[in-house]
Symmetry: C2
Subunit: 382 residues, 2 copies
C-alpha cells in the first residue's frame, strides 16, 4: 500500500467569528493549507469537505462544489456528514483515496458556522445528531446524554466530580498557549468546580462551547521534503446505535473501542508508543471514556491517574490544542483540526505548548453520543 | 482491480409518503436490498448513506449511524451530501471501497423526506444547493436557473418549446409503466405544452416534483450467482462552480462532460454501446443537456433527433423509470434509484417497461445546477 503523507495543515482562528462567512472561512483554510503544503490548487486530485450544519446555519450546503470553486478546479469533491465526527470521516476518505493509489493528492477541509444563530436553534440543530424519535422527542439534549454517562461512570467507579473539573482546567491551560483557540484564559479549579450546573453532574466548564472555524490538510503519496514528513499510518472507523439507551454500556463507547482497535492494528504500534493525543472532549467525561476505551487506561481506572500526566509536558499529553473545551468546537472542523494539531506537534511547530519526544500521535473524533467514532494514528518520519 | 458486482437493488414507492418516517423508509430499503441480494446484515463491511435534507426536513441527520443501527452492525458508515447528486456520490464511494479491495461488501442507501414541510420551506432548503451569496440572495431558485439554460439553448440552437414538452410526455408515459413511480399517469402533449408557466420557458410539466422515498444497492467483490450478474465498470465524478453565472457556458454542464469522459475511459466502452440510460431530468432541459454533454448527441443538435428514439422501446431508451419527472425526485435517493433501475433493466426485471438487448447501461446524477455531476456505467454479464 502507498504511504499517506501529510503535506500541510492549517487552522483558522476558532471563535465567534461574526465577520466571517462559511465561504471566507473555507477560503482561508484552503489557501492556508496550499501555502503550508507548498503546492498549487492544480495538484489536488480529490476533495473531501466536512460540515455538519452549514445548510441549517448558513443556507449553504453542497460544499464539495464550493471547495472546488474556491480552488478553481473540477476534480471529484464530496461533503461528508457524521455529526461531530464529520472531520474525522472526511480525513478517513482522503486517507483511503491516497492509500489505495486511486488518487495522488487529497485536500480535506472541515468548516462550520455555529454562532450566527440563536442558542435554541443551534441546540435543535445539534440534536439532529442524536436519535430523533427516542432522544430529541423526549426532550433530552447532549449535555443531558453525557451527564448520564458521567453519573453512571462516577457511581460505578467511585470517582469524584473534581476529576472532571481538573480536565477542564488542563484544557483551558492548553488553550491559553494556543493563539488559535477560542478560549485563551486559564481557569481556577475552584471556579471550574463551582460553575453553574448544566446537567448534573456536568456544569458549564464541563461543556465545550459553540464556535465558528475551519481547518484543512493535504494528504499525498508524493512527497518533496522526505526528511521531515508526517504520515498517517492507521485509520479506524466504527458505528453504534444513534441513541444511548440502545447501547450495551453507558460508560463505554463501543464505536471508540472498535475504531481504536482497527487503527492500532493497521498502524502496527501499541498504545505505549503514542506521545500525543487529540481526543473528543465535547464534555469532560468524554475525555475519560476515550482514554479508557482506546486502551490507554484500564476501564474504570481513570480515578487512579494524576491529571499532571496529561498536560503538554506530562507523560501522555492530551488535547494540547485546548481540545474541544478550550480550542473550541466548530463541529465539522474539529476532526480536521485534531489532525492539524498533531501534525504540527510532530513537526515541532507548537511553540509554548510543544510536546517533547513524540514520534507517534493519535486523534479521536466522535459523532453524537458515540453513533460514530474515528481514530487516526500519525507517525513522524525523522 | 477487483470487480464490483451489484448483488441487489431495492426501491421503495416514491411519492407523498406522509405515513412514513425517514427511519421507516431507510429500514424498508435496507431490508429490501438484503433480501434481493440474498445476504445477511453481517456480510456488510461498509455503509454509505446519501441524503441532502434529512436534518432540515426531519430533524434527523447522522444517518450513517442510523443505517448501522438498523442493520445491527458496527462497521464504518458515512453520510454523503452533494445536493441532488448525493446518491450518485455515495454509489461512487461504495464502488471505490470495493474496487480497491479495502472492503468486500458495501451497502449504499439513499433516502429523503421532502413532503412533510411547506413549499416555501422546501424551496429554501433546496436552494442551499446553489450559491447562497450570488444566487439565493438575489432571489432566484432552481426553476429560474434551469430556465436560463433552456432559454439560452433554445435561442442559440433554434429549438422549439414543444421539444421540451415531448420529454415530459415520454417520462410520464414511462412513469405509468412503473408501479413504484410517484406519478403514474400519462399526460397529453397539448396539456404539457399549455400547463402553467413556472419560469419562462419552463412550465409545470417541465419540472420534477417533490417526493419522499428511498433506494438501496449492495456492491460486492464476492458473487454467488455468476451467471446473471451486473457489475459497475466505470465511475466518474466532476465538480464545477456553485453558481451558473460563474460558468464558461450556460448550455453545457462541464461537470457532466468531465464525469462522463472519465466513466467511459474507465469502462473502456463507447457511447454507442449503451443500451439504457437513467439521467438527471430535474427539468426537461436537463435531459437534453445531459445527452449532449455525455456525447450521445452532438452539442446543439438535439433538435434533429426524434423523441421516439428515447422511449423504452426506442433506439436509446432514456429514463424508463419515469425519470426524476415522473418516478419522482426524493433528492438523496435519486442517484441510487437510477442504479436500481438500470440494474433491474439489465437483469430483465422491468416488466412492461423492459428494454430489449441492452448489455451496457448508464446513470447520470447532477447536484445543484451542475456544481457536481456523477456518471456510472453498468454491464450485464451473461
Amino acid at each position: 500500500m502507498t504511504k499517506v503523507n501529510i503535506l500541510g495543515g492549517y487552522q483558522t482562528k476558532f471563535g465567534e467569528l461574526w465577520d466571517k462567512s462559511i465561504y471566507s472561512l473555507a477560503k482561508e483554510a484552503i489557501n492556508g493549507v496550499l501555502k503550508d503544503a507548498k503546492i498549487s490548487a492544480k495538484q489536488i486530485d480529490i476533495i473531501f469537505v466536512a460540515s455538519k450544519l452549514s445548510g441549517e446555519t448558513t443556507g449553504q450546503s453542497h460544499l464539495g462544489s464550493l471547495a472546488a470553486e474556491i480552488l478553481g478546479i473540477n476534480v471529484p469533491s464530496f461533503r461528508v456528514e457524521a455529526a461531530c465526527a464529520s472531520g474525522g470521516l472526511a480525513t478517513t476518505l482522503g486517507y483511503e483515496s491516497v492509500k489505495t493509489d486511486r488518487f495522488k493528492t487529497a485536500l480535506v477541509l472541515g468548516v462550520e458556522k455555529m454562532t450566527d444563530v440563536s442558542t435554541p436553534e443551534i441546540t435543535k440543530f445539534l440534536m439532529q445528531a442524536g436519535d430523533n424519535e427516542k432522544e430529541e422527542n423526549s426532550g433530552i439534549t447532549f449535555p443531558g446524554i453525557y451527564a448520564i454517562m458521567a453519573r453512571v461512570y462516577m457511581e460505578k467507579n467511585k470517582m469524584t466530580r473534581k476529576r472532571l473539573s481538573e480536565i477542564s482546567v488542563k484544557n483551558h491551560f492548553h488553550g491559553k498557549l494556543n493563539p488559535l483557540a477560542h478560549f485563551q484564559k486559564e481557569i481556577a479549579l475552584e471556579a471550574a468546580i463551582n460553575s453553574s450546573m448544566v446537567a448534573d453532574p456536568l456544569n458549564l466548564f464541563d461543556c465545550s462551547g459553540l464556535s465558528d472555524g475551519a481547518a484543512a490538510i493535504v494528504l499525498s503519496s508524493s512527497l518533496k521534503e522526505s526528511n521531515s514528513s508526517v504520515e498517517i499510518i492507521g485509520s479506524g472507523v466504527a458505528s453504534d446505535t444513534l441513541s444511548l439507551q440502545d447501547r450495551e454500556s453507558f460508560f463505554e463507547l463501543k464505536s471508540t473501542r472498535l475504531a481504536a482497535k482497527k487503527a492500532f492494528k493497521e498502524a502496527k504500534i501499541k498504545q505505549k508508543d503514542i506521545g500525543i493525543i487529540e481526543l473528543h472532549d465535547c464534555f469532560t467525561i468524554a475525555e475519560i471514556l476515550a482514554l479508557e476505551d482506546m486502551g490507554f487506561i484500564e476501564k474504570g481506572k481513570y480515578g487512579l491517574t494524576k491529571i499532571e500526566d496529561f498536560y503538554y509536558n506530562g507523560k501522555l499529553p492530551v488535547n494540547t490544542s485546548g481540545g474541544l473545551k478550550a480550542c473550541g468546537h466548530p463541529v465539522g472542523a474539529t476532526g480536521v483540526k485534531q489532525i492539524v494539531e498533531v501534525y504540527k506537534q510532530l513537526k515541532g511547530k507548537c511553540g509554548k505548548r510543544q510536546v517533547k519526544n513524540a514520534r507517534f500521535g493519535l486523534t479521536h473524533n466522535v459523532g453524537g453520543s458515540g453513533g460514530t467514532a474515528v481514530v487516526h494514528i500519525l507517525q513522524a518520519n525523522s
